[in-house]
Symmetry: C2
Amino acid sequence: MNFGEKLTSATRRNKSFLCVGLDPDLERMPEGVGILDFNKAIIDATSDLVCAYKLNFAFYEVLETQGLDALKQTVKHIPDDIPVIADAKRGDIGNTARAYARAIFDNLNFDAVTVSPYLGFDSIEPFTSYHDKGVFVLCRTSNPGAAEFQSMRCEMEPPTGAGTEASRLLFELVALKAGQWNTSGNIGLVVGATYPEELKLIRSHQPDMLLLIPGIGAQGGDLAAAVRYGVSPRGGRIILNSSRQVIYAAPGKDFAPAARRAAAGLREQINHYLPVPL
Amino acid sequence: MNFGEKLTSATRRNKSFLCVGLDPDLERMPEGVGILDFNKAIIDATSDLVCAYKLNFAFYEVLETQGLDALKQTVKHIPDDIPVIADAKRGDIGNTARAYARAIFDNLNFDAVTVSPYLGFDSIEPFTSYHDKGVFVLCRTSNPGAAEFQSMRCEMEPPTGAGTEASRLLFELVALKAGQWNTSGNIGLVVGATYPEELKLIRSHQPDMLLLIPGIGAQGGDLAAAVRYGVSPRGGRIILNSSRQVIYAAPGKDFAPAARRAAAGLREQINHYLPVPL
């Protein structure tokens, strides 16, 4: 099963657009619990409630070889029928990007990856050429400073004639380009829930594309708007990611049942806003 | 000694603007030589000829824990008075970027890092807040598709009045913004040697800023133009990186003396083009 099929199947089976971000932070985890045990307990408590898991590499890389080992073992522990996204935000020139793609897809066995668009398509093609894998291009990110470059107004190229629209915001151009690159149908976009109007605009440009939407929960994104603008009557799907609100739902030893309650609550909230039930 | 002082000292001592990229690729390395031994031999053969070393993380990450261990041991093997750049091209939201910065600066002990600008300054500030470290922001990269976004024409903000320049290419805006962010004086820019006219333009915007210039050698960048446009009468310095042309100068067991000859030759070529001797 390729990434898209696995995602569709998990979404339907668990009636869920919720992705749980497994981003272990030693300062916030319960004392005396190792990160692999922490992740395994979260996975065991939530795997019937989610459509995917997402692992942000920074939280593993900071723990060195022990972290890398936990990353690998965590992916192995996730049931085969739930897709796993490598939130690595890589972006490098061709031969280097190929090494990153091998690391993430061949060695670590992730189903999908996040990548940065700044270097252009030749930095992304080494990932999209794995046709059975998903590739999410950063479009409008969830952080406070996202607009600094992403919302700059840029000219369309080639320059258009009088009477046609001649400029777009940079994130719109990324969304439009991603559509052109998507010849294998395995490209999605990362769009923060913290910017609902931008999400609406991106969905208008790409009515069919899969959107990975972080920023609900701890980052304060608008869940209702994310669902309303993200789910498309044309069939475009969403993956709504929450990390901290789920995995740190309780600070003590009862973190796993607390994570389950938080995930179940989020799933219900999301489904409540759906125009058509899953 | 902070990154800038260490770099200046190594540049003067070795009369060199050359940085050697330690990017081990199992397919190109001599048979039967492990990557740590390969790196150590290259370092021992070139450490009196360079101003810095640069390690691209992809080539280590693809080798999993063994690669991460080799990365760490390689940094330890490099003499303390030569700065080491982590070519990681990271770019993520604040709390995640802080984890990457800790991994690269605190754990692995790199002197500098490369970062992507797409998420804006709040994704870069966790790195620049290490005042003794260097941070190179991707500006105009060396790859064939770099222009796709980087050379889009974008409006300056706030919109300027009639008669003033109202637009710039995206990479120019990155260079200008980097100057605004540079309150601690530890920001540099990555500018590919493969685009000399863009390099010239960037140098005109940032006459004092340190430029990290990859793309000479295997990527076919113009060395003479890189030196002519990169070295600034105002004092702006360059770091010219070559990876493959040096480390794979010979395919067999004599790779280390061959790397030394290649590095010495490049150093001489670079110095030949300098307007004023080092």
